[in-house]
């Protein structure tokens, strides 16, 4: 659990401090005492400090926030738990994650949200904020009491894993979310167009004889939802955008309303349907990996501000579950440990955006999406909570199972050489994780 009585004083010295919320990008020291940020300035005194982090050559930024992870607890503890998933989060540089509600049972009542918060309080290594289910049992038939879910502590509403489908239900959910001042996060998948679908509809699915998943099954949902959300005046967030076809729809919607947002995931930014070749179940994900043109369009959408949030959709599965025939294996891959270098690979190393923009998409933008900015998260401000991530942008490392801190290792990126890594994480004023070149995670 997170230590609620921080007593460390920490000096993070000599780094490039990037705080997109305030526009800061300068060589500075960051001083932390009593769980809050005491000072951000050059050449702060080191005398009497408990811990000094030498950040020369490093980026120092607000603690990274992932608004889309599956911690599997309760109900899927063989795949991940709140304890193991938050270890994975720290290993990847995240200080805050938002947990998706497709658990058994799902957090679909205030009681269940409170139960989840108790579990988080007891075992989480970083901050975890629950996203609560939109419908009873997540079955898309009856709407939950969204106001009470939010009052109990839910930071957003979603039936993630399934789209909230009936028009009238969706409109009612959007109205309730507007009243409760939270975002609705939609899993954009037309269920009628994706019966039995296992991967992107295209040349690879044709060759492999797998049922295809058309891109319009995503874009048509976003189109309907955006027009509804704009009409209602609700905050609407499209999860894990996979298709180029969705981008102009999102762009047009965002011109009409600043309350329409969207996220991109490491895999949709770095992989195509080719990763499924040979029936590689580690690349089976919902929504599916699509074509090179789709991948490039999503990168461009981030570069042009159509997509402003980066989210892993961290989805752990056991090795046994992924050792089934492709059409029977579950969707999803882990993301927390490898996310930062994969975002950098697709967006920074390609020259599309710089580190400040990347960090904005991983800190203040997801914070605003989930109202966490109101707690001071996603920013570095004197007097604000001391959640800080230190990044070595040049560290090259091989991604493999040994580098994973969670319970599951299902990832198509296994064996990739990655560049960039969070090397220290401060949560609530305490150093919770450091990576050393000699290896090892201290959590």
């Amino acid at each position: 659990m997170i230590d609620q009585n921080p007593h460390q004083s920490i000096l993070i010295r000599g780094g490039r401090v990037i705080d997109p919320a305030s526009g800061l990008d300068a060589a500075c020291d960051v001083a932390i005492t009593g769980g809050t940020i005491a000072a951000i300035a050059p050449d702060l005194p080191a005398a009497g400090v408990d811990e000094i982090i030498d950040a020369a050559g490093m980026i120092v930024c607000p603690g990274l926030i992932d608004p889309h992870v599956h911690l599997r607890e309760p109900g899927g503890e063989a795949q991940e738990t709140i304890e193991s998933g938050t270890r994975a989060a720290l290993a990847g540089g995240f200080t805050t994650v938002c947990s998706m509600p497709n658990t058994l049972p799902p957090p679909d009542t205030a009681c269940r949200v409170e139960d989840l918060l108790e579990r988080i309080q007891a075992t989480a290594h970083c901050r975890v904020f629950p996203v609560a289910a939109a419908s009873v049992n997540r079955n898309g038939e009856h709407l939950n009491d969204i106001a009470s879910l939010v009052k109990a502590g839910a930071v957003a509403i979603s039936d993630d894993g399934d789209a909230l489908w009936p028009d009238e239900l969706m409109e009612a959910a959007l109205k309730a979310c507007r009243s409760a001042d939270v975002a609705f996060m939609q899993h954009c998948q037309d269920p009628t167009m994706t019966v039995g679908s296992a991967m992107n509809e295209g040349a690879v699915s044709m060759r492999l004889g797998l049922t295809g998943w058309p891109d319009v099954a995503e874009s048509s949902v976003i189109e309907r939802d955006a027009s509804m959300a704009i009409g209602v005046g609700a905050r609407y967030h499209a999860q894990h955008v996979s298709a180029a076809k969705s981008i102009p729809i999102l762009a047009a919607a965002r011109e009409q309303s600043e309350h329409i947002t969207a996220e991109a995931s490491p895999h949709h930014l770095n992989l195509t349907e080719d990763a499924c070749d040979g029936y590689d179940t580690s690349a089976k994900v919902n929504p599916p990996l699509r074509t090179n043109a789709d991948m490039l369009a999503i990168r461009e959408a981030v570069a042009h501000g159509v997509i402003t949030v980066l989210a892993t959709d961290h989805a752990p599965h056991t090795g046994d579950a992924k050792q089934l025939p492709f059409d029977q294996a579950p969707f999803g891959l882990i993301g927390l440990e490898s996310a930062l270098p994969l975002y950098a690979r697709a967006l920074v190393h390609t020259g599309l955006i710089g580190w400040p923009k990347l960090i904005e998409h991983m800190t203040i933008n997801p914070a605003r999406l989930c109202n966490l900015d109101r707690l001071g998260l996603g920013a570095l401000a004197v007097g604000g909570p001391a959640d800080v991530t230190v990044i070595n942008p040049d560290w090259e490392w091989p991604f493999n199972a040994d580098q994973c801190a969670g319970l599951s290792v299902n990832s198509p990126f296994m064996g990739w050489d990655l560049k960039g890594r969070a090397v220290a994480v401060v949560v609530n004023g305490r150093i919770c994780m450091t990576w050393h070149k000699s290896g090892g995670l201290i959590a």
């Binding site: 040349a203 004889g209 046994d320």
Partner: protein
């Protein structure tokens, strides 16, 4: 996952010789699909198959004492019987496994079932499964050779080979299996058909042109990525092709009529009118052109009874060709027992 040739040496005298000396059993002698196989590898299976078609005893009983398991997780009539006849003709013992009445009903996974059967010491696994890629998945995890007898909508390579053997037989191409100049129309439910995927791969690799004909819901434009052309109007091609292969509409795999998509016939009756191989259409085919069907047939839907039982139809010759094809494949995959009285010619 890859098909590696070994064992068959040259084609001296136009017929293959079987050399027991170079036979070794290793784990890569799988036949998972015709996609990606080169022409030489396909011909090296077809040549002995043609020889076995003439004389089933051409190579004696080189698999005597060997055991082949038919690991069928999905229903089958002709393929299962054909593999059984083929294995027995080579002297092998055959064990039949069906998912019904097995530990599959107790929750055993595909891989556990396959590894359990393999652990009993079998020489080849002939696998049929409703999931695409299932045979390949098993092949990655067992040492014994795996022969794909149909995996979902992916491939049915021995069917593809027997289709080619039948076509070569009817068009006098048995010599070198050069199919250039021939055009084959595959009509009907291409999308859900493993037979079509294997046939398209094998036929085009050996030089034939393939045109797929059907409504968009069953024969989408994307089929062209497999190396064929796509046509909606059967009557536009029927008079110019050398063979028509009629496929069953696989309603059990989700095929639907009446979705209003391009070329949609609406219902079964209209489907027969637009895409069925009728007597009238058969009469318009070129002299020497044949009608093929992999079975099982739905008479009156994709093929009219008069055509199925008529002179152009080679469906039963296809069934007959299946046995020597599967013999050749088993022989390749398993190798053969040097001391089992192999008749080497």
């Amino acid at each position: 996952m890859w098909w590696r040739m070994r064992g068959w040496r040259g084609e001296a005298g136009g017929l293959p010789s079987y050399d027991a000396q170079v036979m070794t059993i290793d784990s890569t002698n799988n036949l998972l699909g015709l996609q990606g196989m080169d022409a030489g590898s396909i011909r090296a299976l077809l040549a002995p198959a043609a020889r076995l078609m003439e004389n089933r005893r051409a190579f004696g009983r080189p698999l005597a004492g060997r055991t082949v398991v038919n690991l069928f997780f999905e229903d089958s009539t002709r393929t299962r019987v054909s593999f059984t006849v083929a294995a027995q003709a080579l002297g092998a013992g055959v064990v039949q496994f069906g998912a019904g009445g097995s530990s599959v009903s107790k929750g055993e996974t595909l891989l556990d079932t396959a590894r359990t059967v393999e652990a009993m010491g079998v020489d080849a696994l002939v696998v049929r499964h409703s999931s695409a890629g299932a045979a390949g998945l098993i092949a990655e995890h067992v040492g014994a050779p795996v022969i794909n007898a149909g995996d979902g909508a992916h491939e049915h390579p021995t069917q593809g080979l027997l289709d080619i053997l039948s076509l070569a037989q009817s068009h006098d191409r048995l010599g070198g299996f050069d199919l250039s100049g021939l055009t084959v129309a595959i009509v009907g439910d291409i999308l859900h058909s493993r037979v079509a995927r294997s046939a398209i791969a094998g036929l085009t690799t050996l030089g034939a042109a393939v045109v797929c004909v059907g409504p968009a819901a069953l024969c989408p434009d994307g089929i062209a990525s497999l190396g064929c052309s796509v046509e909606r109007d059967l009557d536009a091609v029927i008079g110019s092709v050398d063979a028509v292969m009629a496929l069953r509409v696989q309603f059990e795999r989700g095929a639907e009529l009446g979705d209003g998509a391009d070329g949609d016939p609406g219902d079964a009756g209209a489907y027969a009118m637009r895409y069925g191989i009728t007597s009238e259409r058969a009469d318009r085919m070129k002299a020497g052109a044949v009608v093929m069907h992999p079975g099982p047939m739905n008479r009156g839907l994709e093929i009219e009874s008069a055509v199925a039982d008529g002179p152009r139809c080679v469906a039963l010759k296809q069934v007959a060709a299946g046995v020597p094809v599967r013999m050749a494949v088993l022989l390749h995959s398993i190798g053969g027992d040097v001391g089992a009285g192999v008749a080497v010619t």
